[in-house]
Point group: C2
Chain length 305, copies 2
């Protein structure tokens, strides 16, 4: 089961966190950008090339500290098809270093179209009898607004290729409550979505008691996080919003079960841009700075477990 692999790696590294790779070009040190501009001019291909070099150096610095990366698809699409090629190459590079890769795409659609997304990001596509892997991540974030028709195709692909999904339940943003906190028969929408996750995951429960269907629950709502942890015993949580968005380690503690498992906490900018925050850090030391921040975050979170 895909999340068994993830939890095993979390245990080995004693680190329930994931490095979000959401690379705006501005985050990439100038010397890397310049090398790409010299090669490829001021093009989307150059931006994508610079980001790939940046990502690979970060992965080299992080893979024995952090069990997983979470590339955010939006930042790759922002650099066009070349950016999307960098996404594919980043996924393969991280996996070659033993990291678990969850593509943050929040994809959603129905039936055959959702199967196409599942195939794209987690499965293999048939090209005239030859099976090819378009992106090959280990897990994908998805949006459950369309109901079971939008999730079932994912479950089939997860089962066939040993992959997992995280469904948005309670997101970390300030206006998440506009819909997600509204009550349906006395229950908030995010809880109903969480219950759907338990239900969708019931067919594929792994060795640690967690299913192949996780949920995204923001660090910025510690009460809902703790409440959902109790109500959704088989649902692994992907927790965004730690650090930059204001969620602290203490608030995140409620996401974990009594064995210190059941959640993985994301940090993106704080790790990627650590070199900009550290005093007197030369830009050439960006990867070491990222590693230091990842270790600081690990120690910050595990102190509460």
């Amino acid at each position: 089961m895909a999340f068994d692999r993830l939890i095993k790696r979390i245990d080995e590294l004693h680190n329930p966190s994931v490095a979000g790779l959401d690379p705006r070009l501005e985050y990439v040190p100038q010397f890397i950008q310049d090398a790409s501009f010299v090669k490829l001019g001021h093009t989307l291909e150059a931006a994508a090339d610079a980001i790939l070099q940046f990502n690979k150096a970060l992965i080299d610095a992080l893979y024995d500290v952090v069990p997983a990366i979470k590339p955010q698809a939006a930042y790759y699409e922002m650099y066009g098809w070349a950016g999307v090629r960098t996404l594919a190459e980043t996924i393969r590079y991280a996996q070659s270093k033993g990291m678990f890769v969850m593509t943050d795409g929040k994809r959603n659609d129905i039936g055959a179209t959702m199967t196409a997304y599942a195939t794209a990001h987690l499965g293999k596509v048939d090209v005239d009898g030859v099976e090819l892997e378009p992106f090959g991540a280990d897990a994908l974030t998805v949006n459950g607004y369309l109901g079971t028709d939008g999730i079932q195709p994912l479950l089939d692909v997860c089962e066939k290729y040993d992959k997992g999904i995280f469904v948005l339940a309670k997101t970390s943003n300030p206006s998440s409550g506009e819909l997600q906190d509204r009550l349906i028969d006395g229950k908030p929408v995010y809880e109903i979505m969480g219950e759907m996750c338990e239900n969708w995951g019931s067919r594929q429960i792994g060795a640690y008691g967690y299913s192949a269907v996780g949920a995204v629950v923001g660090a910025t709502y510690p009460e809902q996080l703790a409440e959902l942890r109790k109500k959704l015993p088989h649902t692994l949580f992907l927790v965004p919003g730690y650090g930059a968005q204001g969620g602290g380690a203490q608030g995140v503690a409620g996401a974990f079960d009594e064995n210190g498992r059941g959640a993985i906490v994301n940090s993106s900018r704080a790790i990627m841009c650590a070199w900009k925050k550290e005093e007197n850090c030369p830009e050439t030391a960006f990867a070491e700075a990222a590693r230091r921040e990842a270790i600081r975050m690990r120690d910050d979170i595990t102190a509460y477990l």
Copy 2:
């Protein structure tokens, strides 16, 4: 205003429909596939190349009948970064023929990440002082589950670059009701989402009375379609589910206002695969078959207006 351009083109062609370009490789005639395999082997690049040739021929056959195309991102992502390059090239080719392009991506995220999606699909990205257009569609479908934080960045990009969005309200699939029909204070979720669309769009109302924020409302729920048309007077509807999913032209009629405007109806497979359905249609005549089906659909829908 982006949707003024679309409505003007709909009026000119007397055709409120859009051709969905959701190209599985199996839909592409074998002679096109074979030419790509000879050039590029059995690779994702070959599949993407075959799909691009297919799309271009369809666009050539449709552009003076159908005002718009709606490429579904999932089917391009399914062929990896090369497939995504085909998406970008399809968008540019259709626009060069005067077609309005709405990318069906159902994207959703928050804050800076949603800005990245908006920039990717509708705007321009800054690469070290040079502004480049990653995909450049005219409109994008999005999912509003995350609330205003997930929509505001789109509105800013729409205003700056004269683009539009369609927010999922009531989708065409059987299980759409699991969440969308549930009642919040006596109102179904899809209606609340529709009201949010009216609200988000209120800043950018065009010459025909429709805003830059449309809604996706499925043809398979004619009652909700007619009901929402009355309740959301400034919201243009993108209506999927006609034909293949079981929605008929009569049911779709309720999506239009008293001037026969206010909606655009999608058909994907029926147009793309018309050559497979027509009796004795040689595969080389696939584009003419698509044109015949597009004309049949136009006449079918406009008969009820």
